[in-house]
Symmetry: C2
């Protein structure tokens, strides 16, 4: 693509779903994206069907410049248009001579979002120029970018605070951008302090006063970013700026997923391409994986807890009609209803959970009672079966069979970690096991003691159980339970294992992180061998 | 307190802040509260100044029954009134004969919340009785509890869905409860599917139609629970049901803290006793500690990130005027502004951070540049200084001094963890160190390898540095960074250490959890000794 790409065809797009995960979302504390991360997220957002992907600020840092080059070379976007973000020209220079503005054109992106000051105090104190020059900067920058064939969106930074302080000036920034050829003018609640009623009223008034097409960019500092975004739509905005999982500076931005779900499912408005909405849960979790954060378990619509029921009261009613207790069918957003096993749950929950796992327990009151008791007892020790279905299934299986049957039994293990005087670090483990009547002694090395232990276990068992070669640990989480005694506390380890086609999670609890890991590994491989169709012999 | 406590004085309370953390909040996946936990949370909520604390369902489980006994015996409430939760009487029995209703009276709580069905399908399918009998159940239960001197609030479960399906019936439940003497009738969005505009309209209509005092109970399934609660207030509700940190079933409940903050700071409405609002951040984190969840870092108002700035763009403007970039002064809710050190931050952020830590770096451009470079390089390896101020201060100090000065230097260490054949588990560590020119070899045992290493380190150093005896690890977190290779990934360890008066956090990163822990411990004790006023000799 040349730097003078022709303008895209006039937009027939009635409503813009605009994602800024790669620009504003990356401001979240704890997120740091490589170019490869950004490319991976752009692919996911395009798959999800957003209309616009704001990729970053080309020219402001080499990573973003490289992203725009590679995104246009390497990604064939099916749904989304790539957007470059930048600022109005510097005070006192021509837009054409401003290297920052030039970099936006050079990025090759067909759409440019230009951030403009719209709060008079910010113009004077942060930008240090006059109110008139700021308007000229907006006008010149938009006109220049339009003359280079770009579609232009203008972000009015601090708009709502600015409107409260000086409505006339804030409005004149919108009107100037609109007159200069900006296709959409976005009202930004940059500090995030607004509430829905205010947002709706301001959007409605500005729309009437200026006739500009308006968008909304909400931050979540009052916990109302989703509602503020919807309130702006109620007020007449037809462009919503969001980030995947609500990532963003401070508290975060308006979360793309509940905004889109509300528009599609509550407003009945089609804002995504056909068939994309059920990808929502998968996309949300995949983006979290790329930015290296755990998916927020309690996120609306897509959280693993979003359709999870634990109250005994509910569990019995859910048996009658699940729709009595859920606001939408979770499959519409790619999520599923889950019954939780927990010490608050009664018999009904265990029966439902058993059914989910393929065990019909309804006929055996005593068995269900035993499982409930055993679960409570283990959860009291710190086990959490809510997040470890495979360990719960083993517990259930043991109770149903009335005895513990396993593929292998532990005699002992030992791990040694050695930070040598020459700086080298060594991890060794030895395990002593019995499998199919034979005693096995095996060793392993690894990056850490648990890794070494895992290697030793696999070294010892792979000849007997070649199925293990397909299994791989894909996640390993450590949680300190008591939290008041530092390294003396009880430790819970959750392990997720994959055989390439499915994943399962197991749990271990002990004072000691290695002992807890052993339990979770033991369950993980036992469950995996059962899944592979093998029958335990011991 | 007898079971026939006299009714409290007629409420002069114009607006109810009603907390249900102990009842509805406890339904959150992953929360399991002991009686001691519930008492601790009740104390915190009372300190925060909520008007009502719903403590649980006495009679439904022994834990809740015990809670009501002990709360009334052990806690002197300064602000809050204790509330028992229960259901309307069973169909076809007298309220006085229903043991569940009797248990509510026996709890001694001066206020009882009675949950009533208000959705016709729920009456028929879940309750399996007639619509008329359900109304009689509401009337009888309220009248009976009033006759026993209790103030009564009625929760209309599934009200908004019920109102959509059969507005007349839903309204008749409200009218019946009101006529029978319920002081407040709470409209519950039990499935959480509502949006603010709907909530406001329904509350306004029902208020006009029935004249009952109305409350709101919102769940967060659309991500709008806070906004829905405020919309209900806009519609005329004068009682808000919330939970601390938004804990609750599925996605959660309306979060107490942003609701109260919005009412106080945005509506200008006094809903807490004088002086309580600045306790908000502390109370939020303390409740999280009791329920044993990490405080949500990105929670509005109270999250550690809620007033954290990382964009270089903002950092330079914040130097001019902090109020340009925050929607409220964080001190009003007991939080603080933080400048983050991160690879997105530029020189301005490092200068501000240095100033926060007592180093004036503004004059030395080269030094600031070196610190920025060093920080970027370390963060690339996986270090996160955002959550480890003490490690960052050591880095800063080393750069300012131009050399690394320490109290002790490592030669080597070794840990052995041994799961013996007899079931016993042993953890041993050896460290070899140099301190004040002397070589020290020391050993230690512990619950786990890191604990043993910590013990060995302290055994080796406590004679030379008796200050170490006051220091204690209070938190220990492990994060797997790459997340795709299970136990082979890079590990980040964050350690929080306390000397009884202050806490500080340090970070270590390595392939190996023990090696990463060593680094964090090394930094922790080095920082602690500096804090104690000692000067390093090596």
């Amino acid at each position: 693509m040349t730097t003078d790409a022709p303008a895209a065809a006039p937009p027939s797009d009635g409503f813009h779903v605009f994602d800024t995960t790669l620009r504003d979302g990356a401001q979240r504390e704890g997120i740091s994206l490589t170019v490869a991360d950004k490319l991976a997220i752009a692919r996911l957002l395009d798959e999800f069907g957003v209309g616009y992907i704001e990729g970053g600020w080309p020219g402001a840092n080499p990573r973003d410049t490289e992203f725009f080059q590679r995104a246009q070379r390497e990604i064939t976007f099916r749904h989304a248009t790539l957007v470059a973000f930048g600022a109005t020209r510097k005070a006192g220079t021509a837009a054409a001579d401003d290297p920052q503005v030039k970099a936006l054109v050079d990025s090759g992106a067909p759409v440019v979002t230009v951030v403009a000051k719209s709060h008079d105090r910010h113009v004077e104190l942060a930008l240090r120029t006059t109110l008139e020059e700021n308007l000229a900067m907006v006008r010149d920058t938009v006109e220049y970018l339009r003359s280079r064939g770009r579609r232009v969106f203008v972000d009015c930074e601090h708009f709502f605070d600015g409107y409260a302080a000086n409505p006339e000036y804030a409005r004149s920034v919108v009107a100037t951008a609109h007159a200069a050829g900006a296709e959409v003018v976005i009202l930004c609640d940059t500090n995030g302090g607004m509430l829905p009623a205010q947002v709706q009223a301001v959007v409605r008034t500005v729309l009437t006063d200026t006739g500009a097409r308006l968008g909304i960019h909400a931050q979540d500092d009052t916990g109302c970013a989703v509602a503020n975004t919807l309130a702006a739509v109620d007020g007449g905005a037809s462009h919503v700026q969001c980030t995947a999982n609500g990532y963003g500076e401070r508290v975060g931005n308006a979360n793309l997923f509940p905004v889109v779900a509300a528009l599609e499912l509550k407003y009945g408005r089609r804002v995504l391409p056909e068939g994309c909405l059920p990808e929502m849960t998968r996309i949300s979790h995949a983006v979290a994986a790329v930015v290296n954060l755990s998916p927020a378990t309690h996120q609306p619509y897509v959280g693993v807890s979003a359709f999870a029921h634990k109250a005994g009261l509910h569990a019995s009613a859910i048996k009658v009609d699940p729709d009595l207790y859920q606001h939408i069918d979770p499959e519409r957003v790619g999520n599923t209803m889950r019954m939780l096993v927990s010490d608050m749950a009664g018999r009904a929950s265990v029966e439902l959970k058993g059914k989910e796992l393929g065990y019909d327990l309804a006929g055996d009151r005593e068995l269900v009672g035993r499982i409930v008791e055993r679960t409570k007892e283990r959860e009291l020790q710190g086990y959490s079966y809510e997040a470890a279905d495979a360990s719960f299934e083993l517990l259930l299986r043991d109770e149903v069979l009335g005895r513990v049957r396993r593929f292998f039994r532990l005699e002992s293990w030992r791990t040694i970690t050695d930070q040598r005087a020459d700086g080298g670090l060594e991890n060794e483990a030895t395990v002593k096991l019995w499998a199919k009547g034979t005693r096995v002694v095996a060793g392993g090395e690894g990056n850490g003691p648990v890794h070494a232990l895992d290697r030793a276990l696999r070294n010892g068992l792979e000849r007997t159980f070649p199925e293990l070669a397909r299994m791989q640990l894909v996640d390993y989480k450590v949680r300190i339970l008591a939290g008041t005694q530092g390294t003396e506390s009880t430790t819970r380890v959750l392990v997720t294992t994959s055989d390439g086609s499915a994943e399962w999670s197991t749990v271990g609890v002990a004072d000691n992180v290695i002992a807890a890991s052993w339990q979770a590994l033991d369950d993980a491989y036992t469950f995996g061998l059962l899944r592979a169709g093998l029958e335990p012999t011991d």
